[in-house]
């Protein structure tokens, strides 16, 4: 019974309740529960913190000191710019209208929304303020684009980043978010499970990163010169803030502070812990030392993989999922990357895309009641579900890659993707931003 309710809820994502503006608050209008509103505002803040300063530090600590500000600025400005674009047209295109892959223009500039407008949740009759829902979804859009920038760090032009990310946000993020999360969305209707954004956020960003890394080309000296992280404590702080903030991401996606949130919360916690332990031990066993960068990478791998699964699997499934994600992502960043020779500076592909795929596919497995999950939808076999999950992955990979290619091409043809060789040597901080990080 209760399990059915939860599974069901996965199929009933948000269609914001439009209150006719100007109308006085009628007696039968649903009033948001203050506990839900409090939690959703807290969750939104947690996701903001994931981006600023979380992700910025995680990435910034990994580059060389001459490029740290460039990474911080890319995250800071992309996050801010997309926030503005989200309220101008992003929200309208992603969450209004009736299209299966893109929405309408009726809420451009948030037209017609006021403090009394409500958005539906997974539970009938339970609503949250639409402004809060807009802010919450905004953070997902902004953060996703920020994830991408790690792939071509240390060599790209700042203007190129802005141009490419605006195009990619508009033509890749918005439609994919709609397809996966909107009640009328294409993948949603197929029955793809993605509780908090494995496809929309991580696979989406990861593949866009890979395309960018390849198109921008390798860093000077890649493979021959040492390029160690300039400040690993920053990386650790960033990873920790990402971990803490990710609860807003995952548990906030539940839209309510109800009992089910507890499961999502615990899953997010322990899948990550298990992935940290797994990565640490694999690294220790195979390469001789358990590193801080490894521990932090394990945390992100676990978080990425549990993202689509956090509302579908049980605690023990979460632990196993975390371990598997750590093993496969470890392999991706140490072996796969070397085999293909691309220079994905901060392993956006190896951690976010690969981890996202692992999570998306295995969600279809560990959702099974026999494996401790909340149970497959009636009449759906595990194979069916895994198939649907794989389809969702494939669509995301293809769509995002194509749009990303075009986006970088446009940037390349207008401002150029890459700084000059001398400038790359000097470092982007002084060259692109006229500042030094440390004096």
């Amino acid at each position: 019974m209760t399990r059915f309710k939860n599974i069901f809820s996965l199929f009933a994502r948000i269609a914001p309740v439009l209150l006719i503006p100007g109308l006085a608050l009628a007696d039968d209008t649903p009033v948001p529960d203050k506990g839900d509103t409090a939690w959703m505002m807290t969750s939104t803040l947690l996701v903001i913190m994931m981006g600023l300063p979380g992700l910025a530090l995680f990435y910034g600590g990994m580059v060389r000191s001459k490029n740290v500000l460039s990474v911080l600025m890319q995250v800071f400005v992309v996050f801010s710019l997309l926030t503005v674009l989200w309220v101008i047209y992003g929200y309208s295109l992603a969450f209004t209208g009736t299209g299966t892959w893109i929405g309408g223009f009726e809420r451009l500039f948030l037209a017609g929304i006021n403090a009394d407008s409500m958005a539906a949740t997974f539970t009938d009759g339970v609503v949250i303020p639409e402004f809060v829902f807009i802010a919450f979804q905004c953070t997902f859009a902004a953060l996703t684009a920020c994830l991408v920038v790690g792939a071509f760090a240390e060599r790209i032009k700042f203007s190129a980043v802005l141009i490419a990310m605006v195009i990619w946000f508009t033509f890749a993020y918005l439609p994919i978010a709609r397809m996966v999360w909107f009640g009328e969305g294409y993948m949603f209707k197929l029955g793809a499970l993605d509780f908090a954004g494995g496809t929309v956020v991580h696979i989406n960003a990861g593949i866009a990163g890979l395309v960018g890394a390849i198109m921008t080309g390798r860093r000077l000296g890649y493979g021959t010169t040492a390029m160690p992280p300039h400040n690993l404590p920053l990386v650790m702080v960033g990873a920790s803030m990402l971990w803490v903030g990710w609860f807003g991401f995952n548990v906030g996606s539940n839209l309510e502070a109800n009992a089910f949130a507890g499961l999502v919360f615990l899953n997010t916690f322990i899948a990550t812990a298990a992935a940290v332990v797994a990565w640490t031990f694999i690294e220790w066993g195979t390469r001789g030392s358990p590193t801080m960068l490894g521990g932090a990478s394990g945390a992100i791998a676990g978080l990425v993989a549990i993202t689509p699964a956090c509302g579908a699997v049980g605690p023990m499934g979460a632990i196993v999922l975390g371990i598997i994600a750590a093993v496969i992502c470890f392999w991706a960043v140490t072996k796969l990357k070397r085999i293909f020779g691309y220079d994905d500076s901060l392993d956006v592909f190896g951690v976010h895309c690969v981890g996202g795929i692992v999570g998306a596919i295995l969600t279809g497995v560990f959702v099974a009641e026999g494996l401790g999950g909340v149970g497959l939808a009636e009449g759906t076999s595990m194979l069916d579900q895994v198939g649907v999950q794989a389809l969702g992955v494939a669509i995301t990979l293809g769509w995002s890659a194509v749009v990303a290619f075009i986006a970088y091409k446009v940037a390349d043809l207008t401002v150029g993707l890459r700084v000059a060789e001398d400038q790359e040597r000097e470092g982007l901080d002084t060259v692109s931003h006229g500042e030094s990080a440390y004096t």
């Binding site: 010169t225 001398d422 006229g434 500042e435 030094s436």
Partner: protein, 112 residues
Amino acid sequence: MKLITAIIKPFKLDDVRQAVTEMGVQGITVTEVKGYGRQRGHTELYRGAEYVVDFLPKTKLELAVADDIAEQVVEAIVNTARTGKIGDGKIFVTALEEVVRIRTGETGSEAV
């Protein structure tokens, strides 16, 4: 013995190290320095303040070598450290009166 002091562009360090070790140099002492010279710096902006950074990051190498190879070593450094662009740096050579290896107490060219 000679003490060769070379101020080079930081990204050339590995190349130079390789070049001189291939010639038999067994030790180098490296210092991060800032160089002022003909090469122009960049401008930095901090809110209202704006100023030119004239001291650029350079790497200083110190090598104690036997007299006979000193000239070749200098040449090798010049060849590997050169980019042809302004700011490539300088090499200074001074006479060393004595060299001691602390571990063994050896002196002279044995100690280099």
